[in-house]
Structure formats: structure tokens, C-alpha cells
């Protein structure tokens, strides 16, 4: 399985539409910053990442999940620094031979991300 991880402070661009040979399913996920946090209007969130550990944890998690839900490719982009409302903080793109594996990989990866990967919403910027 081909795993690519990128941490960036730049806006996440549109993904490459090319598909890998043998891929029957492509699942993409964008986690977008919403305009309200704890009942207060915000203009954006600030993210902090412990990059070497986040990279290692992501690879570990994906490897574990791949044993149950075999996929072909896994691409993660996560932003750090300020992310304005309406922009994506995270982008995932998963290719698999079949849709069930790709969907399960997405679902379980996101659950694990939110418990184990050292990334934090470290602040929000009020309007």
C-alpha cells in the first residue's frame, strides 16, 4: 500500500483525479472548519502538529487497518497554523479495489486520528 502524508500551512488544493491501476473505488474526505466553535462565531481555527510523531502514528494506523481493509493508496494532507472558516483542515484520499474497504478505512482511520494522532486544534480566532 502506498501511503503519502503531507503537513502544510497552505490551502489544500484539488486532488489529482488520476486513479491507480486496479482501483475500483476512490473515497475522499474533507474536514472543513465551521463558523461556530463552542457557540461562538469564529473566523478560523489554529492547528498544531507534532509532525514526526503524527507521521509515524498515521503510518502505523493505516498499516494496521490495511490488514483488515486492504487498500491500494492512502493520501493524507493535514494543515497546521491558521485555517479559515470554510477551508479544509484535512483531506484524505483512499483508493481500494472495492468500496467497502475504502469506506471502512476512512471511517476507522478518522476515529483513530481523533484519539491517537498528535494534532490539536490549539486555538480559535473569534470574528
Amino acid at each position: 500500500m502506498d501511503v503519502r502524508i503531507q503537513f502544510t500551512d497552505q490551502k489544500i488544493g484539488p486532488s489529482n483525479p488520476a486513479t491507480t491501476d486496479g482501483a475500483g473505488a476512490v473515497v475522499e474526505f474533507l474536514g472543513v472548519v465551521r463558523g461556530v466553535e463552542r457557540d461562538a462565531k469564529i473566523s478560523g481555527l489554529v492547528y498544531e502538529i507534532y509532525e514526526p510523531m503524527a507521521d509515524r502514528m498515521v503510518r502505523r494506523i493505516v498499516e494496521e487497518l490495511d490488514a483488515s481493509y486492504p487498500c491500494l493508496t492512502f493520501q493524507l494532507v493535514h494543515r497546521h497554523g491558521f485555517v479559515p472558516v470554510g477551508e479544509a483542515a484535512i483531506h484524505l484520499r483512499i483508493e481500494a479495489p472495492h468500496r467497502t474497504e475504502a469506506i471502512r478505512m476512512l471511517e476507522h482511520f478518522m476515529n483513530r486520528l481523533k484519539t491517537d494522532v498528535p494534532i490539536w486544534k490549539s486555538g480559535f480566532v473569534p470574528c
Binding site: 507534532y50 503524527a54 493535514h78 483542515a89 486520528l113 481523533k114 494522532v117 490539536w120
Partner: protein, 83 residues
């Protein structure tokens, strides 16, 4: 005695008012409890986070019986909230 470098993130760096600290560490290694004792001596403001923060060692979560040795990079990992 050697040293362990301890990185602070998110609420831990806010509470400590800095991004990292060094903690003395015996060659034979120290457990998490001793790391906390020495950290809190330097940064008592971290005390309230102790119940929720996990310790990482060289980019892996430290097992309950894990040890830190001089030269290791440790980190305080408050509850994560990525995505």
C-alpha cells in the same frame, strides 16, 4: 546524570509557558512517574494536566511500564483533536 528532552504541545505548552524542557535522567532509565515529579518541580503549572496527558517517547506512546533513557525525546501529548 543524563537528560531527557520533553516537548510540550497545545494545552501543555500553554500551561508551561514554553515549548520544551529538559529533565535529568539516570543512565538506567526513569519511569513516567519520576518524569512527572521532575517536570512538575520545574513547571508546577502542568499539574492540572497530568490526568489527561499521555507521554510519548521518540514519537511512540510510552507503555505503562515504559522507561525513558538519557537522549530520548519525550513529549507531553494532551488529548488530540485533529481532523
Amino acid at each position: 546524570m543524563g537528560e531527557v528532552r520533553v516537548l510540550f504541545f497545545a494545552s501543555a505548552s500553554e500551561a508551561a509557558g514554553c515549548a520544551e524542557a529538559t529533565v535529568p535522567c539516570e543512565e538506567g532509565g526513569i519511569r513516567e512517574s519520576l518524569l512527572w515529579e521532575r517536570l512538575l518541580a520545574k513547571h508546577p503549572s502542568l499539574a492540572s494536566l497530568r490526568g489527561s496527558v499521555r507521554i510519548a517517547k521518540n514519537c511512540e506512546y510510552l507503555a505503562a511500564d515504559g522507561e525513558l533513557h538519557p537522549g530520548d525525546e519525550a513529549a507531553l501529548i494532551p488529548p488530540v483533536s485533529g481532523g
